[in-house]
Symmetry: C2
Subunit: 233 residues, 2 copies
């Protein structure tokens, strides 16, 4: 049995709490990080608050025993003041109302002391399947990469949606293309999957496309076209 | 029975040919567009060549009977010289070695004469499920939107992959995030799905991210961050 206390009230805290409640051999409780009094003892304390608040929360529970971890992709392990510290970073985009299947979520794990690693590994395996040992430097790079494949890809979808709405074409026509693009990046790599006017250097089509875009969209179209062409030189 | 001749030798020509060969009530033959002699008569002739070559191929088969269509997302219907003309545009990214499931491919259809529409609709339904009536103006916009959701999203994956490779982190850790991002764009819309430092205006994280990127990546990161922030104003 592993006992866990989750400090926090956001999406990650809530989704982790729900998952641990259903897991075998885990005793979990969740506590609002603004009410840090009479917290029960636990093997692991998960600080699942916004990046800016991790240090403050850690300092306000200084005399706490057990392993103290945070859940952030962007923050160094050493932000935690305790000696026994670690990172328990589920790499997925969590939304309030969308259920999470932790079996498909990669857990990026790090501990300051080697002896603590198996503890958070067991914790991850109690709700998920995939664990990776990722140190703080690697995790920061992974977090930047995640911004590109998640936030920025999604913004490309947003612009596609805007163009469709403006021209009264159903955006759903593009759903199979979105799916296929995501699949090919995994099956044959994004480099091999690249197609389109930028790659072919199809100047006439690029010119036609630019005429159909607003200023902001044009700027993005041109920069990404240049970047694609540089990447295949 | 509908008889079809496909002119062309690229990915679209090949994948359509393979699909029609398996379809019921379709008689299909494929002919290299550089050997346009003794072409058998057909109800429909599909010009499946590169955008630049459509007009030339159409002019070189001027006396041909039946319905003449092209398969391009970017080219106007009127590029075809024949009176009975149309567009048969399967909106998907075709790769040479990746099999295509046409049941999931949206067919964007247009004919000059209303009477011809049911013919290409039947043709599309013989290998696929989803058909949309899309005129040339709409199709051009859809084609630009497709560049964003396909080529540019894929380039975001490419940059994510580059960052991972450079820092010796397995890119596969990001696969579930890529999948989830593609799914959420469809289930809750890209606008509602947006998360991340740009949306939160998390200045410290944005600054940290920029320090980890090369010049080209920084330029893209900054432009897309600005664009995300403008889009939620």
């Amino acid at each position: 049995m592993i006992s866990v206390v989750i400090l926090g009230n956001g999406n990650v805290a809530t989704h982790l709490h729900n998952a641990f409640l259903k897991a075998k051999n885990i005793a979990v409780s969740k506590i609002n990080s603004r009410e840090l009094e009479n917290i029960p003892n636990s093997d692991v304390t998960i600080i699942a608050v916004s990046d800016d608040a991790i240090e403050t929360v850690s300092k306000s529970i200084l005399d706490r025993k057990g392993l103290i971890v945070h859940t952030s992709g962007a923050v160094d392990i050493n932000i935690i003041t305790h000696k026994r510290k670690g990172v328990f970073y589920p790499l997925q985009s969590f939304s309030k109302d969308t259920p999470v299947n932790f079996n498909t979520v990669p857990f990026c794990l790090e501990t300051k002391h080697k002896e603590d690693y198996s503890l958070i590994e067991s914790l991850a395996k109690s709700i998920g399947e995939k664990t990776y040992t990722i140190n703080s430097e690697q995790r920061k790079k992974l977090h930047v990469a995640a911004v590109f494949v998640n936030n920025f890809s999604n913004h490309m979808y947003k612009i596609g949606n805007d163009i469709c709405e403006k021209n009264k074409v159903p955006f759903e026509i593009l759903y199979p293309l979105i799916e296929e693009t995501a699949k090919k990046a995994q099956s044959i790599s994004p480099e091999k999957a690249q197609t389109g006017p930028a790659k072919r250097n199809d100047i006439q089509t690029i010119k036609n496309h630019l005429e159909n875009l607003n200023l902001q969209q044009q700027e993005i179209y041109q920069l990404l076209t240049t970047s694609i062409q540089k990447s295949i030189e």
